[in-house]
């Protein structure tokens, strides 16, 4: 462990340091609201380190930069891209929980510290290239999330957390079983070595992946990861957990946890199981999961009366759109733009993060005031809170995929990658689903703008929440009108998967 290694790990180390420092400060600072603010401002440190690493290390693939801790973690632009995403998401979660934490009485600091620990686990997930490390960082990200889901300590919150823990435990066990088979039949847990061994095995055998046991392992991996990204048919936990959890945790789950899941899927499947060298194509499996997730997510969302549950099903549907990008492996048809699919997924994840966080920020601002998440209680919001209603409407338009929002550009990019890879049928399914989704997103907008309000009392929110709503809404607009900067960053990050 040299000083250089410490520099490579500095974003994660400073995140853990920040969370621990907040917990210690909590012991002797009387004004607890100060600590949360300090925590959000303190995120500048890991952000600064990540920016420094992006410009100094990002392009340099020299051996001393790529392997930390016996080569289990790498620092490349792909990992750094996700570090930006997780730091941004946890910062917004900190801002929007400013009023919400009052409900936790004594445990306000622990709430944000757990979110920081979870974000650290996600940052490690994006950086890992080894299966054991992958499992440890996955649990580091999900165990704090379970504790956060139970944070309200009432019946609903505990029930959601219990379902999260049990189904999360089952999916972890399935994932581990898959990893163990991949390890057992290749003799290594390093992803690049796995790819090399599978190449050798496939050359000497006409069985998929060289042996049926390995095929079983990979099927189990897909099931385990599918849980993390709420792909149908592994989505059953999501609506209950999203509804029962404190709303800032729901926002964090739907944005950051999902992005982390896609980060490891991209890394594992592009590095360990590159399509052109294998006799069977996993992208067909992801195409099927994509079609199922989009259709089920959107159809069930129509029937929802609770905004958190509606956004939960919308998250499942967006997981489907993201899987379209994952299934779009250009190598299938010999397309020349190999990184079209992965960079589309990265762009979509960033765009989805801003638009979903914008929607959740408004939902929290409103529920702080009216203490309800029922859609019917949003009646006449346009009169009671014109700016919040406009921001929510804009975020929902973006989730539908209507220009000039980031949701439109992201969908164009992902569907374009699918056409490029010869998956026209999947694009047709995706576009039909976008039309279905317009129905339930617009019905929320209709309730806000056309129904008469239940009371005339205006809804006022504090500065941090207004800041979060403002920043994310501007993000939705800017990335939608001028996406080229984010696109270039996503392309540079996706390129790291192919080096």
């Amino acid at each position: 462990m040299t000083a250089h290694d410490l520099y490579l790990l500095s974003p994660e180390l400073s995140m853990v340091g920040l969370a621990t420092a907040l917990l210690l400060l909590d012991l002797f600072v009387a004004r607890k609201s100060l600590i949360l603010g300090l925590g959000v401002v303190g995120l500048i440190v890991p952000l600064g380190f990540t920016i420094a690493l992006w410009f100094t290390i990002g392009d340099d693939s020299a051996a001393e930069n790529t392997g930390v801790l016996a080569g289990t973690l790498v620092v490349d632009k792909f990992a750094l891209f996700f570090k930006f995403l997780f730091i941004g998401a946890v910062a917004v979660v900190g801002l929007i929980s400013v009023d919400y934490v009052q409900r936790f009485e004594r445990f306000r600091t622990e709430f944000f510290a757990l979110a920081l620990y979870s974000a650290t686990g996600m940052m490690l997930m994006a950086a890992t290239v080894e299966l054991i490390t992958l499992y440890i960082s996955l649990e580091l990200s999900s165990l704090p999330l379970v504790a956060l889901a139970a944070f309200l300590r009432d019946g609903r919150s505990s029930e959601g957390a219990m379902k999260f823990l049990v189904l999360g435990g089952i999916s972890s066990a399935i994932l581990l079983y898959g990893m163990v088979y991949v390890f057992g039949f290749t003799g290594t847990t390093y992803l690049d070595e796995v790819a090399a061994r599978i190449g050798d095995l496939s050359a000497n055998s006409d069985q998929p992946f060289g042996s049926y046991a390995l095929l079983l392992g990979i099927a189990l991996l897909i099931a385990g990861f599918g849980f993390k990204i709420t792909a149908v048919p592994f989505q059953m936990w999501a609506p209950d957990v999203y509804e029962g959890s404190p709303t800032p945790v729901t926002a964090f789950l739907s944005v950051a946890s999902k992005a982390a899941g896609f980060a490891i899927i991209l890394r594992v499947f592009y590095v360990a199981f590159p399509v052109e060298e294998l006799s069977i194509e996993w992208s067909a499996v992801f195409a099927a999961l994509a079609a199922l997730s989009m259709t089920v997510g959107n159809l069930v969302a129509i029937a929802q009366s609770n905004i958190k549950r509606l956004l939960a099903y919308s998250t499942i549907a967006h997981g489907g759109y993201l899987l379209v990008g994952l299934a779009a492996v250009a190598a299938r048809t010999g397309g020349d733009e190999v990184d079209f699919g992965p960079s589309g997924v990265l762009f979509y994840l960033a765009g989805y993060a801003v638009m979903n966080l914008a929607a959740f920020s408004v939902v929290i601002a409103i529920s702080n005031h009216i203490n309800s998440d029922a859609i019917k209680d949003y009646a006449g919001m346009a009169k009671r809170a014109p700016y919040l209603a406009a921001a929510l409407a804009f975020a929902l338009l973006s989730l539908t995929g209507i220009p000039p929002t980031v949701g439109f550009i992201a969908k164009v990019y992902v569907f374009g990658a699918a056409v490029n890879a010869g998956l026209e049928w999947l694009v047709v399914v995706g576009v039909i689903n976008s039309v279905i989704s317009a129905y339930y997103y617009f019905s929320v907008i209709k309730v806000m703008y056309l129904s008469s309000p239940q009371s005339d009392e205006p809804i006022l929110s504090r500065f941090p929440i207004r800041l979060a709503v403002g920043v994310t809404t501007v993000g939705v607009l800017v990335f939608g009108v001028y996406p080229i900067v984010l696109l270039d960053i996503a392309k540079a990050a996706a390129q790291a998967l192919f080096s």
Binding site: V146, A150, G155, M162, L165, I170, A173, V180, G184, G187
Partner: protein, 117 residues
């Protein structure tokens, strides 16, 4: 003993654990079933790391190469990590069961039905 015996044992334990986790009413029994699944994975990991070291790597027993030793140990290290994380997971699980019991006076997962469409 051959590798198949261990893999079959692992698969049977995994299936029993999965069945228990999906069918038991008592939350504690569900957590125990999940633990059983983890241990099935452990057995498989250790057995695979013992038996599936490519013969070319092993050579004669006196001169085990670095790479063979690494393969031999990886499965065992994997299982130690699994045991550690599973312990953390169960601690969290029991805490949530207690929270559930305090608010609902039950440890039966079939009674936790407040969240529905």
């Amino acid at each position: 003993m051959s590798l198949e015996n261990f893999l079959i044992l692992g698969a049977i334990l995994f299936a029993i654990g999965l069945y228990g986790a999906l069918s038991k009413r008592n939350a504690i029994a569900v957590l125990m079933s999940i633990e059983l699944m983890f241990n099935a994975v452990n057995i498989t990991a250790v057995a695979l790391s013992r038996y599936v070291v490519p013969a070319s790597l092993l050579g004669d027993a006196a001169s085990i190469t670095d790479q063979a030793a690494r393969t031999l140990l990886t499965g065992q290290i994997f299982s130690i990590f699994i045991i550690t994380v599973a312990a953390a997971e169960i601690a969290l699980g029991v805490a949530i069961v207690i929270a559930l019991y305090r608010s609902r006076e039950t440890v039966f997962v079939t009674d936790a039905t407040q969240l529905k469409n």
